[in-house]
Symmetry: C2
Amino acid sequence: MRELEERIRQEGIVREGNVLKVDSFLNHQCDVDLYNRMGAEWARRFKGVPVDKILTIEASGIGIACATAPHFNNVPVVFARKSQSINLDGEQYVAKVHSYTHGNDNTVIVAKRFLKPGENVLLIDDFLANGCALDGLIEICKQAKATVVGIGVAIEKGFQPGGKRLREAGYDVESLAIVKSMDVATGNIEFEAQSN
Amino acid sequence: MRELEERIRQEGIVREGNVLKVDSFLNHQCDVDLYNRMGAEWARRFKGVPVDKILTIEASGIGIACATAPHFNNVPVVFARKSQSINLDGEQYVAKVHSYTHGNDNTVIVAKRFLKPGENVLLIDDFLANGCALDGLIEICKQAKATVVGIGVAIEKGFQPGGKRLREAGYDVESLAIVKSMDVATGNIEFEAQSN
């Protein structure tokens, strides 16, 4: 998505440790008009795919998912909650998610009431690098016997292994911008060409 | 807002300790179509008020704020991040927020780049009970020398002191549903009459 690539080029800040800061429009300050066009773009790419529900993860995914849902007939958005201590009352799906960024494990939780067997679920998240957060959401969908029909990602770091692994596992991953390389010294960011 | 009151009556679950669970449509599963109409209602109530930015707090406020921004000319949404440990690099506004629900203190953080002196800020949140989260956002606006022009709340617990205190302090608090009382034994929920 050219607009997103341009925006990343203009405002993205490259930091040591494969960090790309895009907090001026994507995940601290939010450009909701851009979110809306991202939602429209996913709707174009996933045209014809049945979607009953959008599943994302707090916090940065929520705004993007909520701006995307109107492009999918206002299906409900469910956001998985992160927690380090949980109250296991049997009414929740729970998966463990490792964070390379913070070097710790988080638990992600979805109430069983909000994810049902047979539901067609579109996963949405802001970033895809190693894919750990999406693995957690996929694991929760498996527990619920729901079907992951697609994965919409705003920014994929193409030089990290998550996207390749998920596509090889058969998932339809649609990343709106795929960073091929980024240079912490010059701040230069290169994107992979996208056919669609 | 009658639609929101009806929805709370139908799906809200009253629990011990003044807890009102509305996670089927407001803060775990999200009805984005309802969010959109809530945004339109705040736009009606705050008509004529200058709004440069919407400020909310993760996680539950984000989706509501992002659905509200299109009704305020797509102004940017900034969400304060919660953290228990922070990296004080001088580039962030920081305020302490006490949580009665969890019995602990959180730190809320906004990058200084995203809140400027003189900006007119509309605060949005899902719940107002004791008002601690909103106090934190107000404190951050004070540090930034930004002006809080209004506070939009989805559900106010009118039997807890936050709303009264904030209104007495001069803030224009627009709560879309104000719970007068709720009964954990019967599940009955009463609302305060609203003139507008």
